[in-house]
Symmetry: C2
Subunit: 436 residues, 2 copies
C-alpha cells in the first residue's frame, strides 16, 4: 500500500462534485466578463522565479534538475508564466488581453489546516490597460463570483490599498528606507504583534518614532485619503491617491464599491505588485486569514523582456483553499454528493432492452447507470440508492413479457408501470408521475 | 525573456477554446454514463511506479528528491494513483466505482510531432466488476465520445484483443516463454518490420519457427476465434476466447459492436493489463498511430495491497495528443476562435450607463466586454472585431441625451437605436432585429 504525499489531497467524487460547482461558477463568471481560458505548463525554468524573487524563493519551490540538465521548478504561481506568454506573443495579441485558467500550483511549505503543498487557483488577469476601469473590473469579477457562489453581500469585503501610497509615505520619513522590506513588514502587520511590526519597519530603515508615525498615517488615510494629502505633500503620493480614488469611482459604476474598504495596511507579500492591491476578507470573521487577493503588477512584463504592459489580476483559491472553507462556514458550500437521474435495473436476461433505454436517456443528456456487474435485484437497488438515483427503471423479464417496465421514484418509493415502447419515447426526463 | 521548456505547450485562448469544447464533450459523455469526477495529485512516491514497472521506468519519469528527502515523481499516468485511492477507501466505496478526470501527465521522452512531455488525458475507469458489461461500457463510452465529437461512425474502429489469449497461445508453444516480453513484442509488431518482430519474439523465448506459427495463429484468430480453439486446446484459452466473445456480445447490446474488430496483434505496452485490451484507430489512415487505448487490469489493486478488485478503463488524450490531431484531419475539430456576445462601447462620459448594461447582459449569461482602457471609438471597434463580438452596443453621450443607445450587428454592419431604458430590459439576448 502506498501513501499519498504529505500536503497533497485526493478528491473523491462526493468532495469533487461540490468543488466542481465552485470552479464552474468561478469560471462562468470569468467567461461572462470576457476573460478567455488558457492552459499553461506545470514546469518552468527555475530562473524565472529566482530572477524575480531572489534565491530565497527556492526554499519554497519544488525544483530539480531534469534529465536534460535543465533547472526546473513546479510552478508555485501563475503570474510569471502568463507574463512569459504575453511577452512571447506580444505583437500578435490584441489588447486588453484578458485571460483566466484553473489549475494546481505547488509550494514546499509547512502543511497546516487549509494550507496544502498542492493547491488550486483560478487566475484572472488583464494585461495592457493602466486605467482604473481594469482594476475595478477585477474587483467586480471577484465580487460577482462570491455572490454567484451564494455568499451574502454583507459577508465579504475587499480591503484595498495602493503600493505607491505606502511607498511614498515611507519615503516621506526617510528617502533611503528599503521600501520593499517595509512593505513586507506592513503585509505582516495583522499577523504579528505591534512591537514586532514596528521592529520590522525599523529593520527596513525607519526609526521607531517614524514607524509609529507612519502607521498612524495609514490609519488616518483609511478614514480620509484627502487628509493624507494635506499631511504629506509629494506629487507621486497625490497621483497614487487620485488613482486609488479613480479605481473606487469606477468600482462604484461597476457595482462593487459597497464591497471595498480603504485599508492601507493591506500590502500583499509579493514584490512585483505596483499600484492598487487588495485582499478579500470574511466580515463575519469565521475565517481570519485573507480569502484571496490581487492587484497591479505594471512592471513585470517589461522585466521579462517585453514592451511595457500594465497588468492587474486576482486569483481565488478553489478546491482546497481558504475560499471553500469560507463557503462551508457560511453554509453555502454545495452539497458533497453525487447525483444520478436514472438507474436502469435488469432482472434476468433483459440487457438488450435495458441498454436501449439507458442509451436513449443518455442521448437526452441524463446521467444514467445500468448494471455492469451482473448483480441481484437487491444489490442493484442498494447501489442505485448509494448513487442517489432519482428514478429506477426496472427492466424485468416478467414485465417485458407484458411489454412493460416499472418506473420507481426513489424518494417516495412510489412505482408504476410504463409501456416499454414508450419509455422514454419523446420524453427527455420521463418520471413516475408521467405514467402513474 | 524566458523560454518555455521543450516538450511543453502554452495554450492561448483561440487554441484553448477549441480544446475546451473537446474536453467538455468528453467529460459530458462520461457524466452521462455515471462516471464521477475525481481530482488527484501531480506528485507521487516514485516507488509506486518502480515497484510495478521496474527501475527502467525511471528513465521516462520526471523524478527527484523533494526537500523532505522523499523520492517523488511527476505522475506519468493516472492508473497507479487511482489504484492507490481505491485501496485507501476500499471499504467505504460502493461498487462498481466509476471515476473520470482530465489532467496533465508528464513523461521525459523524445519530443516528436504530436508527442509532448506534458500531455493531457481524460481517464475513465470502472473498478469492482469482472463482467463483460464493464468492458463493453468502456468501449461504448469511447465510441459515444468520438461520435459526439463529430467523427463519422465509419472513420474509427476499436481493435480488440485479449491478454490471456495472447498468453495462452504463447504458452502453447513453450510453457517457459517470457509472456510479458513476448506481449511487448506483439505490441511493437505494427511498428517494426517482420524480421525484427520475430526476433523480439525469439528474445522472449520462442524459436523463430514457433514465432511464425504463433503470429499465423493471431491472424487466423482475427478471422475466427472458434477456429483458434479447434487449433489449440487449453482451458484458459477457452475461457479467454469466451470472455472476449461475451464482451463483443455486450458491445452489441450497448450499440458499439459495429466499431469493434478482433485484432489479436493489438497488445498494449503496459505490463499491468490482464484481459480485454483495445486501441482506437483511424480507419481512413490519416493518423497512423493509435488514437488512444485501454483495457482490463484486474490484478493491479491487489498488487497495491487492496482486496482483489477487477478494473477496466480507457484514457483518450485531449488538448495536445493524437485525438485532436485526428479531429483536425477529419475536419471536425472545433473552430480555434474566441466568441463574444456583446461589446459595450463607451463614447464620452457614459461609463455608468455602459456598466449597467454590461452588468445586466452578464446576469443573463452573456459574454460581455466593455472598455477598460479609455480608448477611442475606432480602437474599441477594432477590439470588438478582434474578439468576434456579435453585437456592439454603442453608449454615446449624444445618444444618451436622447435616451437611446445604438445596437450594431457586426456581421452585417446594420445598426439601429434602442431606448436606453429598454436595453436589455426583459430580453436575455437583445439583438439588432429586436429594435430595427
Amino acid at each position: 500500500m502506498y501513501d499519498r504525499l504529505k500536503g497533497f489531497k485526493d478528491f473523491y467524487p462526493d468532495e469533487m462534485a461540490a468543488r466542481r460547482e465552485v470552479v464552474d461558477t468561478t469560471e462562468e463568471v470569468a467567461r461572462r466578463y470576457g476573460f478567455r481560458e488558457i492552459a499553461t505548463p506545470a514546469l518552468e525554468d527555475v530562473g524565472m522565479y529566482v530572477d524575480k524573487s531572489g534565491e530565497g524563493i527556492v526554499d519554497e519551490l519544488y525544483n530539480f534538475t531534469d534529465k536534460g540538465g535543465r533547472e526546473v521548478a513546479l510552478t508555485p504561481e501563475l503570474t510569471p508564466t502568463v507574463a512569459r506568454m504575453v511577452v512571447a506573443k506580444q505583437q500578435a495579441l490584441s489588447k486588453p488581453i484578458k485571460w483566466f485558467s484553473t489549475r494546481p500550483f505547488w509550494r514546499y511549505e509547512q502543511v497546516q489546516q487549509g494550507r496544502f503543498r498542492e493547491f488550486y487557483q483560478t487566475n484572472v488577469d488583464i494585461f495592457g490597460s493602466a486605467e482604473p476601469e481594469a482594476d475595478a473590473e477585477i474587483l467586480a469579477f471577484a465580487a460577482d463570483t462570491l455572490s454567484e457562489l451564494g455568499l451574502p453581500a454583507s459577508e465579504f469585503e475587499f480591503r484595498v490599498s495602493h503600493r505607491d501610497i505606502l511607498g511614498e509615505l515611507l519615503r516621506s520619513f526617510d528617502e533611503d528606507v528599503d521600501v520593499q522590506e517595509a512593505i513586507r513588514a506592513v503585509d505582516k502587520s495583522e499577523k504579528v504583534d505591534r512591537a514586532e511590526y514596528l521592529g520590522l519597519l525599523a529593520d527596513a530603515g525607519l526609526s521607531i518614532e517614524d514607524a509609529e508615525a507612519f502607521d498612524d498615517l495609514l490609519a488616518a488615510g483609511n478614514e480620509d485619503l484627502d487628509a493624507l494629502l494635506a499631511e504629506v505633500d509629494r506629487p507621486t503620493l497625490t497621483d497614487a491617491v487620485e488613482n486609488l480614488q479613480a479605481v473606487l469611482s469606477a468600482a462604484e459604476d461597476f457595482g462593487v464599491r459597497e464591497h471595498c474598504r480603504v485599508s492601507l495596511r493591506t500590502a500583499r507579500g509579493l514584490d512585483y505588485y505596483t499600484g492598487v492591491v487588495f485582499e478579500c476578507f470574511d466580515t463575519e470573521d469565521r475565517v481570519s486569514r485573507a480569502i484571496f487577493g490581487g492587484g497591479r503588477y505594471d512592471d513585470l512584463i517589461e522585466s521579462f523582456g517585453g514592451q511595457p504592459t500594465p497588468a492587474v489580476g486576482v486569483a481565488p483559491g478553489v478546491m482546497n483553499s481558504t475560499l471553500p472553507l469560507l463557503l462551508q462556514e457560511a453554509g453555502v458550500f454545495p452539497e458533497e454528493a453525487v447525483s444520478t437521474d436514472y438507474y436502469v435495473l435488469t432482472v434476468g436476461d433483459t440487457r438488450e432492452v435495458a441498454a436501449r433505454i439507458a442509451r436513449e436517456l443518455r442521448a437526452a443528456g441524463n446521467v444514467v447507470e445500468t448494471d455492469v456487474s451482473d448483480r441481484s435485484f437487491g444489490a442493484q437497488m442498494g447501489y442505485a440508492d448509494s448513487i442517489n438515483a432519482e428514478t429506477v427503471v426496472i427492466v424485468g423479464e416478467q414485465d417485458l413479457a407484458n411489454d412493460e417496465v416499472t418506473v420507481k421514484e426513489m424518494e417516495s418509493g412510489d412505482q408504476t408501470t410504463a409501456p416499454v415502447g414508450e419509455f422514454p419515447g419523446d420524453r427527455e426526463q420521463p418520471r413516475y408521475e408521467d405514467f402513474a
